[in-house]
Symmetry: C2
Subunit: 437 residues, 2 copies
């Protein structure tokens, strides 16, 4: 595996956007250093692009390497490695599959593709005896795939809490520090280029949900798809809810939560994405701006956190190149790495059965008996109250209630009944509380 040999390894790039350009630039600039780390030179053999002739700032990359025929490129049969950074599910999925079947190891940064067709593509990689690596697909530059799959291979992961979307973290951070509304913070994020013109995938939590599916698969040695992940975005988080969180010593974060739970039949896993209150003392609370972090709770290692930039051309290229060097070393040695294990064929736990805590802001009439009738409803659903605070404001009052841990379905049912009570004017905010007691 450490043998040095002189035949260059032939690398094709699918896609030459921000990440692809950065990968091509570094492959060219750092050719000597990478050759030493791999044990063989890496040679750019082709770059599939959407439009021919587009201006590209890639000195040292011959123009004749560019092609619009990605399909022919991956089927050439002489490629050792293919880097897929074009994004999307079609045609990326078929191209990755064809690349593997034609003998190349594949590095991808495509979370949407893996969350949709991961099981099938990992199987194709195992059959072809090739690597399919995807460090860049989960939390960008943060090394998390390798730590979960290899460093913790002798441990048991209980829970993964991730801030895995920089756009929403930036928006929530602005709401927290400047008191901005969601709309104000989103507009600011768009102006600065942190959010796209159509921010749906970020603010509705879809991007985080795809990463949650991948994280759960890695942590629990199983396969999840996007459809298995409960998903709630941040569009309904109000400035007032954020203020109320601050008052109770917490911050609001969009979390991707993957858990393994003991059930009567064994263990079940769940994956969910939603805004949550995190205590200010929790390491995730200090993850600011567009940064990402993944917090891992495991049996023997205890709590671990991995922090860094979750997006951007250079950070993503760093993760892609790390995978590329590892896959190239494997090609030099004629081996391939540990594939995705999915030996734990575990039950999927619906979000309703996940254990969590609720923080609720409730507008109520300010009169005798109100607290009693509200407390009664919590008791009826077996939900225990941890703290209750009442701020009188004349004829009405604001109640802030934080519950003890209970099943999400019971908590949600309690909220529904509260909304129907005469004494309740409005339940203005409901946020889950995670990451501490």
């Amino acid at each position: 595996m450490n043998a040095h040999h002189d035949r260059p390894l032939r690398v094709a790039l699918l896609g030459c956007g921000v990440v692809g350009t950065e990968v091509a630039r570094r492959l060219t600039r750092d050719a000597d250093e990478l050759a030493r780390r791999v044990g063989a030179p890496l040679e750019l053999a082709g770059i599939a692009v959407r439009r021919a002739g587009a201006e590209r700032d890639l000195p040292g990359v011959p123009a004749d390497l560019f092609t619009t025929d990605a399909d022919a490129l991956v089927r050439r049969g002489d490629l050792d490695l293919v880097v897929e950074v074009m994004g999307g599910i079609d045609p990326a999925g078929d191209l990755v599959r064809a690349a593997l079947e034609n003998g190349a190891s594949v590095v991808t940064a495509n979370k949407a593709l893996l969350a949709a067709r991961g099981a099938e593509l990992f199987e194709a990689a195992a059959k072809a005896e090739r690597d399919l690596s995807f460090e860049a697909a989960v939390a960008g530059a943060i090394p998390i795939v390798r730590p979960l799959r290899e460093s913790l291979a002798g441990d048991r992961v209980h829970r993964v809490l991730g801030i895995v979307n920089g756009t929403t973290n930036y928006i929530l951070d602005q709401m927290t520090t400047l008191g901005q509304s969601f709309d104000e913070a989103l507009a600011e994020a768009q102006r600065l280029g942190y959010a796209e013109a159509d921010p749906t995938a970020d603010v509705e939590g879809h991007d985080a949900a795809a990463k949650a599916a991948l994280l759960a698969g890695l942590a629990f040695h199983t396969n999840l798809t996007l459809d298995d992940v409960y998903c709630e975005g941040i569009t309904k988080v109000t400035a007032e809810a954020v203020r109320s969180a601050t008052e109770t010593g917490s911050v609001v974060k969009l979390l991707a939560i993957c858990e393994q739970t003991e059930t009567d039949d064994g263990v079940a896993v769940s994956a969910r994405v939603h805004p949550a209150l995190v205590p200010q003392s929790h390491p995730l609370a200090s993850v600011r701006g567009a940064y990402n972090a993944v917090f891992v709770e495991s049996e023997a290692a205890g709590d671990l956190m991995f922090y860094g930039q979750g997006a951007g051309g250079a950070p993503t290229a760093s993760a892609v190149l790390g995978d590329l060097v590892a896959a190239a070393r494997n090609r030099v040695g004629g081996v391939w790495g540990p594939g995705e294990t999915s030996h734990a064929d575990v039950e999927l736990l619906p979000v309703g059965r996940a254990l969590t805590r609720y923080h609720m802001d409730i507008d109520v009439d300010d009169r005798a008996g109100v607290l009693a009738s509200i407390a009664q409803e919590f008791a009826r659903f077996g939900v225990s109250i941890q703290t209750m605070r009442q701020d009188g404001r004349g004829s009405d009052a604001r109640l802030v209630i934080v519950t003890h841990e209970a099943e999400d379905a019971s908590l949600a049912a309690t909220v529904e009944v509260l909304r129907g009570l005469d004494v309740v004017r409005d339940v203005t905010s409901v946020l889950r509380v995670e990451g501490g007691s």
Copy 2:
């Protein structure tokens, strides 16, 4: 590499203290799960201990596996994997070497051994075509070896800042939050079992220095020994210096700093361990108590941080078992992993040439002309002052000076000259400032 085969892999343990016991317990308890992850069963073939017959709480481990003859154990010739968790340099070093030469891959948690004899042992591993893994030797359970060596293999690391000793972090944390003196905080740490009866290795920075040598080697693809690391402990950090740090928005941390610097002749690396002021806004500032963290600044990935428990039986066992599973997978596949690269034969930069900033507390006479004569000395050594604050206290005054970046030797020379000035009563504290401007 993914082939499943039925012959068990034979594992020997050298040492059965806190970590060894935890490894043996998990190997036994989780045998089925580990066999699935490896692709072959792991079989405990022998445990070398210092004293025979000591009581051990290891259900399922046959008594005849224990031996006091470690040398005979590693030379049996039928071992696939050896776990060295006995600590110390002798006889651990010779045993690791013999294990490799007799065909076993080795997993070690022994930072002192690697900082002393790493180059020789890695060479022995390469020659024997076996793995020598050491994730547990740097920052305990925190996955840092694999991320530095593999995830960042396509990137360039500029700097590593680590809080890699839990004992000193706990002591400094107590001094910061409770205003305790070093002696008070040390006594408390000893009472709670966070510090040993002889705390020298921790409080003088030797433990952190061994880890700094390993981190620098990993980050910069070179070899460093303990002697290459400048080392200054925390015994001289006063309660007043910690208070002064807090006033300027910083906290005092014992940092292991590994840097690559451009020089006239190319690049040079340096490794140093010393107390330093870290701005409260820096992610390292919130690493509290006995936790560890390693902050990595790299060209493409940007800033990354890895956080977790740096010591303890279960966390260390988690890191050992992660390495063991990876090495076992390699044995199943008949391969070995990427060895330590030391291709970058770089110059070692003495601490005097490292760029840093100084924070100084100085007692001076409170009279006209004092500031001018002090400022003149800074100018003479080419050291630029960033901030200077004077608190009058009657006939004397306290000056707090923070410099801009300069070479450590110039800063140290300035301090020496200041100590000799008539107007200077005492330089009460000198601490470097790291991790931001």
